[in-house]
Symmetry: C2
């Protein structure tokens, strides 16, 4: 039997045990894992050095090498993140509904673990620990398939966590790492219906697209963000520029940053020139529609393809529109339904935007950068779902659960 | 452009309008649809006669022809079912969470429509009306792809509903029927990411398997039911036989009926002979394990394949087990995670079964036949989900919704 299937079967058997553990038992296991990572710091750094060396030889870019690199501070951060998960409330066992039927049936809807979760991700070894912690805390077994560039690090990290689990109530089999670096091991995971209950991709758009297009196992898509901010004519100019600069430039590499600024023509007339200069001054390259170029002649012309691009960089499209409808039409055409924002002093206009724009998160007078499990107060984030089934927007622990109906009777039969 | 894509695009445009309608506006449209079906009764019966005639010529089985056939009573039933949907509470707009953040952000999680729902189903024309009613009530546009054997009936029914919508607030485009009878139109629907938000298959196992295996659009699987009932040694014998007979024979053709009876050896010793005769007397063919055959020598030997079969018929596997663990092990191996039941007077044993068995619905001392949206008091049923994402078990109106975060600020930016 293949590595993937063997490990998924072991995970499934372990899930049946995990399902019965108390919150305390799970939290104790997570604490042992955090301790083991701290104690194994040097071993992890040695393993990580192998990955870094291999990466350098293969000509990996410095920014990717940086994501891959582990040092004592980063390992401490990873261990502390596990401890933060311990501190979060356990959603499992929560009674969501209680129904008393006229025939005397007593129906309860209870939150239970999903079962076995497959996580497919790229080079960052911290995801190995984070995903393991989130899944185990919610009573799920997990099959991890990390990027081959982090294989030595991931192997060592999982080895340490396995050793920690051995003295906990959680079976070590509940945590599986697929070591086969070939793409075929991903393909096999995506067809493991009956063994994996869900697959969650975490990574770049091509990784996500592959999972969405090829998985027969249900997927939670954590997708791309082409996010917009619309500056209405009644936008307060200081607020508008503070939010626009924050949404674009505070951390351009993430999915909730802004890619296109939509500006009402009246606002543009009075304020776009100053705002354009402010954006340029913080290092943002502007690509504008023809009307924008009239006001900002130094900007680059924007193409349709630009409007459809998630730059994740210091680049911003600017488009002047003549109405809320125009703005919403552009968002509907180019948006990825992630996070969309309107800056306006007109309450009615704001409500229309919030109601009508189809996105996981819609904002009035705040930066789209807040779309994040920690910023929403969930204390954790599995990812940000851009699909509509099961979970939408930042996903906290409850999104790693499903429900079960428990029905108590005293001999009821159907008539 | 293909019929499928054209109609899906029209549906998507209509969804943006539907999204904004009040419950009253949607209910008024549903009432007009019900009226139109009653008034068009004769036209529907004429169209249905074409389907029936074609079916007969093609040698369709009498039971399939019966499912396809419409008469005044059935049409009245279909119209009344629409009126029942009108009477149900509208889940859209419900505020599910409200979060106040220390930075002053005000976050609300609101129930909103999914958008555009694709329904792929078989010969029963009542599904056309039922699915339309459920989707429109919840503010969703719907693209229906019914079986080609009911095409004339479905066309007429949709024509009448379209005419009704024309004088309502719901755009007629919100309801689309794919008329292309070729399998390729189904294949095309399953790849319409970005236009369809979810696909729900309703029908037999091969239809469902095709959708699950080929759809890149998220699917809600309404799957097969291999349901078990376990008679523990402390089961009250009268209750045990009443529930076993009900679960098997009250309506064997449905997914929540029992396919395998698991019997503790001590219970079997005293009561299986009598129960076997009772089951045989209501017309059930028994297939037994070797121990069962010793007690019921007239039964047929059961094979592994039998245990893995959803008969949907008057056939039942009977297997004697020596413990709760044995019973749960069998359920884990052969069950489809639909509905599972234990009959016992031992409260502790019952709780273990309910906790540990992985299924959408677990029962203590009641027939699995109750797994049904109407029996659960939901007033509607889109189907019974056997997957774990989004919805599990009988699906009422809320399962046709998703959520949206609405965030109000006063200039917040991320630090």
């Amino acid at each position: 039997m293949s590595e993937v299937r063997t490990k998924a079967e072991l995970a499934q058997a372990a899930a049946a045990v995990l399902n019965r553990l108390s919150t305390t038992q799970k939290d104790e296991a997570l604490q042992l894992m955090a301790n083991a990572l701290r104690q194994g710091q040097e071993e992890i750094i040695t393993a990580n050095a192998e990955d870094l060396e291999r990466g350098k030889q293969q000509g990996t870019s410095p920014s990717l090498l940086d994501r891959l690199a582990l040092n004592p501070q980063r390992i401490e951060g990873i261990a502390s993140a596990l401890e933060q998960i311990i501190g979060l409330p356990d959603p499992i066992g929560e009674k969501l509904e209680q129904i008393e039927r006229p025939n005397g049936l007593h129906i309860e809807k209870i939150r239970v673990p999903l079962g076995v979760i497959g996580i497919i991700y790229e080079a960052r070894p911290n995801v190995t620990v984070d995903a393991a912690g989130l899944c185990l805390k919610t009573g799920n077994a997990v099959v991890l398939r990390g990027g081959s560039s982090a294989l030595s690090s991931n192997r060592k990290i999982v080895e340490l966590m396995h050793a920690a689990l051995a003295s906990s109530a959680i079976p070590a089999d509940a945590l599986q790492l697929i070591e086969d670096p070939n793409r075929s091991s991903v393909d096999e995971m995506l067809k493991l219906n009956g063994l994996l209950d869900v697959v969650i991709p975490r990574g770049g758009s091509s990784l996500i697209r592959n999972v969405v297009e090829n998985s027969t196992v249900p997927v939670i898509e954590t997708g791309a963000g082409i996010c917009h901010t619309y500056l209405d004519q009644t936008a307060q100019p200081d607020m508008a520029s503070a939010i626009a600069i924050n949404a674009k430039a505070q951390r351009p590499s993430v999915c909730n940053s802004m890619e296109t600024l939509l500006v009402h023509q009246d606002f543009a007339q009075h304020h776009l020139e100053a705002l354009g200069v402010q954006l340029r001054d913080v290092g943002v390259e502007l690509r504008g529609c023809p009307e924008t170029l009239r006001l900002l002649p130094w900007a680059i012309p924007a193409t349709d393809e630009d409007y459809a691009t998630e730059y994740n960089d210091y680049i911003l499209n600017v488009k002047i529109v003549s109405s809320l409808e125009d703005a919403m039409q552009h968002i509907s055409q180019y948006g990825t339904r992630h996070s969309e924002c309107i800056i306006t002093s007109d309450q009615e206009l704001a409500e229309r935007f919030m109601q009508e724009v189809d996105a996981a998160a819609v904002y009035h007078n705040a930066s789209t950068r807040f779309t994040d499990g920690f910023e929403f107060g969930f204390g954790a984030e599995i990812g940000i779902s851009t699909q509509k089934l099961h979970a939408r927007g930042p996903m906290g622990l409850p999104s790693l659960s499903t429900t079960k109906y428990m029905i108590h009777g005293n001999g009821q039969i159907r008539g």
